[in-house]
């Protein structure tokens, strides 16, 4: 555990304060294991530096890169109804609400009524019969008076 602690301290120095990877500080010098560890750290870093080519997106490639991002951003945007459809939907809802309100407020519609009946003509084949008519608001009445004794 102590060894591990010393190695960690060495690594911290190596990462933060080491300006040259060829000289181990005096605090760690003389310890073969630590010196070996330091040598490995330095060699590893040199090896990484030889293959750590920093890949880049060139300026000429940037438009294509950004285009791909824009496409995805547009696709991922929440769907929004065009304004006209929103207005139409709102108008339809308002219409329904208005009609419903009117029906409720104004009550049932008036009953359908026929025009006042009118007797245009009348006739009878019964000899001696008389016909009377009476028309009021909703009804038309016809009386046929037949002479007595003439009923079959």
């Amino acid at each position: 555990m102590f060894r591990s602690h010393k190695k960690r301290k060495l690594e911290t120095w190596f990462d933060q304060d080491c300006t040259s990877d060829t000289t181990i500080p005096a605090a760690f010098a003389g310890d073969a294991e630590l010196e070996s560890h330091f040598a490995t750290l330095a060699r590893t870093r040199r090896a990484v530096q030889t293959i750590a080519e920093r890949e880049q997106i060139a300026d000429a490639q940037f438009p294509a890169f950004m285009s791909g991002i824009r496409e995805q951003l547009v696709q991922k945007q929440p769907r929004r109804l065009p304004g006209i459809w929103v207005m139409a939907s709102v108008a339809a809802v308002l219409l329904l609400v208005t009609v419903s309100t009117l029906v409720v407020v104004m009550g049932r519609p008036a009953d359908v009524r026929a025009e006042q009946p009118q007797i245009e003509s009348y006739s009878t084949d019964i000899k001696g019969a008389t016909v009377k008519t009476k028309t009021d608001k909703d009804n038309a009445t016809v009386w046929v008076n037949v002479p007595s004794g003439d009923l079959w």
């Binding site: 060894r3 591990s4 190695k7 960690r8 690594e11 911290t12 990462d15 933060q16 294991e33 070996s36 560890h37 040598a39 490995t40 750290l41 060699r43 590893t44 870093r45 040199r46 090896a47 990484v48 530096q49 030889t50 293959i51 750590a52 920093r54 890949e55 880049q56 997106i57 940037f62 890169f65 950004m66 791909g68 991002i69 824009r70 995805q72 951003l73 991922k76």
Partner: protein
């Protein structure tokens, strides 16, 4: 202040910011604010500025330009979606790198990138080493290629730590902000990554060493 002193007293005023709490670079702030308000041109400018930071880090994980391209685009798309959550507690670059490190893990899982089983790489390389001699020093580049293969077998968090330090050259503080952990955790993960890599290099005879 009515303080009379017979001897001069010198005060050392130390200003320090809390760990991981550096402010956004001033030049970014207006762009970030506009981007958060929905200005796509401002966001595009941020992409232009930091595309290579994201791309380079992404490449370190996937080791393929096309994959890194896709991953980088995913990072910026995620960043755009999460712009409202960015509060400027870290720099925008650090925030992007954090997203890159997190997304890379998911990306690698999703793509099911073959991580070279280190033992396989070990065997194939042992053959070559046997021909060359284990004590013969490998060219630094060859050693670097071996390290890359060995990194594939590291746990993701250790791989991230090693990549940020050795490939990107980030300081411990910057690493802590990217990985959203303490300095102690940064050092611990880096230590474990190095230990595992070193163990494997020792087994290959690439480096000399003993037990940890």
């Amino acid at each position: 202040m009515g303080l009379a002193l017979e001897t001069p007293v010198y005060f050392a005023l130390e200003i320090s910011t809390p760990e991981g709490d550096l402010p956004v670079i001033d030049t970014d702030k207006p762009l970030v604010t506009r981007a958060q308000a929905g200005d796509l041109e401002a966001f595009e400018e941020l992409v232009r500025q930091y595309r290579n930071d994201v791309f380079a880090l992404a490449y370190h994980f996937v080791r393929n330009r096309e994959e890194a391209w896709d991953l980088s685009q995913e990072v910026f798309i995620k960043a755009h979606q999460a712009l409202g959550q960015f509060r400027g507690e870290s720099s925008f670059k650090t925030w992007l790198m954090r997203i890159t490190a997190n997304r890379s893990k998911d990306y690698l899982k999703k793509r099911r990138l073959d991580t070279v089983a280190y033992d396989d790489a070990l065997e194939s390389h042992e053959v070559a080493a046997g021909m060359m001699g284990p004590r013969e020093s490998l060219e630094a580049r060859e050693m670097g290629e071996v390290i890359l293969k060995a990194m594939n077998a590291l746990p993701h968090k250790h791989r991230v730590a090693f990549t940020l330090r050795e490939f990107e050259g980030l300081s411990y503080e910057e690493m802590a902000r990217v990985m959203e952990c303490s300095l102690g955790t940064v050092m611990s993960r880096l230590h474990h990554a190095r230990r595992k890599l070193q163990d494997k290099l020792i087994r290959m005879g690439v480096v000399m060493g003993g037990k940890h």
